[in-house]
Symmetry: C2
Subunit: 419 residues, 2 copies
């Protein structure tokens, strides 16, 4: 894509109303736009990153045998009343609104209830189990405070996966498969080394749930990480009793800040009993379906990647989720046709090989172009100028590195295809 | 995909609360689930069709040079107050809700205002123009009545494209390019022959806007279609004055029902003036940017395809948007390993060739399987049974046709790759 076609401009000044480093950088680089506290729009560069993160997650969901659907945002109160999650004194983050006839409706903050109701039409026998379904859908949560940028938004995309199994053993088995898929996702998007599975509160559903926490100074959560990194425990369950149960001493842990990038819950029969999602087993006995739910917020993952991968000049995207793989920076103060043709030709060649390329064809000074390139953080920068043309090479620099080197087309293509 | 993995079951009975034929069929076949009047969830088969429609539209948007973004649903009132579209007596289909601090926010019913505000940060000079951006995003509209299924929903996905040009001439030119792209889209999704460009009210923005209306008995709109099909006029502007202006006689038209599948508006400077989206022209003069907006609702398009393409047995999907291209129906009452292997092998072969296949591996009677296959409406059905194996062929039937024929693998693959 030509950068002249990409309408977003970068800004130098740090947005005064953002304390989160990731939000500051994503806004300055034109990846997102803040509509109000906790509400962001995704501009083309940000949307490209989101789509790549979504693709990684989706592939893992399909490997788990899950099928994609897309549930509504507007929520019918009756199904939430059945589980007692409609009243504001039970769930205090609802956004509610009204139809013309004054009937109240809610905005989906999660989707266990409506999905369980749908499943009642499709699950009646053990032969219909197990079922795994997932979606990428916006959640609305009326958070009292939303000051951590994309780390705690009032409106955010979520991947939610739900499992429906005949038995608790079936749930346990799938739960661990999801845990493994999550670990693969963190590695794939470049946060694997700093992300730990942590014991967390199981809420109303079970003793514990599991979270994945990415250790990071910008995190909103506090966790206790074993000094040997073998275990992590969310502050909320870091108690004497839990430590005794796990056979650990408090001194084996240190307190760190972290971002919760994913969580998984054993829901058991909480929803299936309340809503009557039942099945007949092999002997004809009627039983409630056993459920689990598994969440990841792609925008929070995007912000977490930025929290981990940036420097004073800007973001440094891992190749797997970068908005583009290569940034061709054309330096062409004299508007030489030869230089612009050379840059366009190289971009075309990358396009043909399926290597996503952003071509900075704008008429700006070299300093501005380099500053933008560093801020946006595409992994590899290739300079095309009269100087590089005279050398018969391209000037190539990795965003994460410090030195640039001259390369022929062949060397450059080889570098990009083997990275 | 194996049909046993697809959790949805079909139903024989017509949903009592739906008058729209498309909604009835889509619900019976398990493509969508009705959450409440005007609110639908998309189950796997429906989501697959939606994604294919979206892909067709997206490709045309990119051909127009437009860039994709994704704006928020939650809306800040201040930007809507600037254009006087916040008050309920001005716009009566808002869904409004409140933050914890009691501040009102709205749910996006369209996105001119927030997008214009974003563009103020990125357009300042004639050099920044033209700009074309689009998104696929949910719109919320508090319709008083929502009784036509997916044809008029309270929550629905929309493709909205916006143009920002320096001059009215620039707008006119792009507007006609979009019109051509729209015509290509209708043809690509199988509704081209029945879809007409119609004069419609320009609302507050201009004398006329343009709609595309698909002639169809299930339509909510009334249009006047020239008997020679050369022109269509929405009822709302079918007046003596307009006919005189167009040099037409009322007797040249007949009244027909139709579904509005797309509309395009010349917004002019209505939003840019109200919100201060200005640019400096070549002479340094400050002018308001000229805007246009262009909508298509993919779910309404999906429902329109069903209104046009169905029979008493069910839906008949055009190949371009079908949830799968081939439906392998395995008839295997004796649970023969050879039959199931043969069916799986064929499915694998299609998968390998990028032909999307649904493999009905369920243990059901032939009659039920055929009825489901007809209802779901995948274009080509291939029966694999002991009988077909003895013949060394497959029994192939087009959903739109009446006769089945025996084909070898080679003939079948050829048929599917040349359809």
């Amino acid at each position: 894509m030509r950068q002249s076609q990409l309408f977003t401009k970068t800004r130098r000044e740090i947005p005064a109303d953002e304390v989160s480093q990731s939000a500051q950088l994503l806004i300055r680089a034109g990846f997102v736009h803040k509509e109000m506290a906790g509400v962001y729009s995704f501009l083309p560069l940000g949307l490209r990153v989101m789509k790549r993160i979504i693709k990684v997650i989706k592939q893992e969901m399909e490997t788990l045998g899950a099928v994609e659907l897309f549930l509504s945002s507007l929520q019918d109160p009756t199904v939430w009343q059945s589980t007692d999650r409609w009243r504001d004194d039970e769930v205090d983050i609802w956004f509610k609104t009204k139809l013309k006839n004054e009937a109240e409706v809610g905005l989906g903050l999660t989707h266990e209830e409506p999905l369980t109701r749908i499943m009642k039409e499709h699950i009646t026998s053990y032969r219909d189990l197990p079922r795994y379904v997932f979606q990428f859908q916006t959640k609305f949560r009326n958070e009292l405070r939303a000051k951590s940028g994309l780390l705690r938004a009032r409106e955010f995309l979520m991947k939610d996966l739900y499992s429906f199994t005949a038995t608790a053993a079936g749930l346990d088995e799938f739960y661990e498969q999801v845990a493994k898929a999550y670990e693969r996702i963190w590695r794939a998007v470049g946060i694997g080394d700093q992300t730990y599975r942590a014991f967390a509160s199981g809420g109303a559903f079970s003793k514990f749930s599991d979270e994945w926490q990415t250790v990071c100074t910008g995190g909103e959560d506090t966790i206790y990480l074993a000094k040997d990194k073998s275990m992590a425990i969310n502050q909320e369950v870091f108690t004497k009793e839990v430590l005794a149960e796990l056979g650990k001493k408090p001194t084996a842990f240190e307190e760190v800040r972290a971002i919760e990038v994913g969580n998984i819950f054993k829901l058991g029969t909480r929803f299936s009993e309340a809503l009557g999602l039942l099945y007949a087993d092999e002997t004809g006995q009627i039983k409630p379906v056993v459920m689990g739910s598994y969440g990841i917020g792609p925008a929070r993952v995007m912000a977490t990647i930025v929290e981990l991968h940036h420097d004073a000049q800007g973001m440094i995207w891992p190749k797997s989720v970068a908005p583009f793989e290569v940034h061709i920076v054309e330096l062409n103060p004299k508007n030489s046709r030869a230089v612009s043709d050379e840059a366009s030709e190289l971009a075309k060649q990358f396009d043909g090989q399926g290597i996503a390329v952003l071509h900075d064809d704008r008429d700006l000074r070299a300093g501005e172009k380099f500053a933008d390139s560093d801020l946006i953080g595409i992994p590899v920068r290739v300079v095309v100028s009269e100087k590089t043309m005279r050398a018969g090479k391209f000037e190539v620099k990795e965003r994460a590195g410090t030195r640039s080197e001259l390369m022929s087309t062949k060397e450059l293509v080889k570098k990009l295809s083997t990275r």
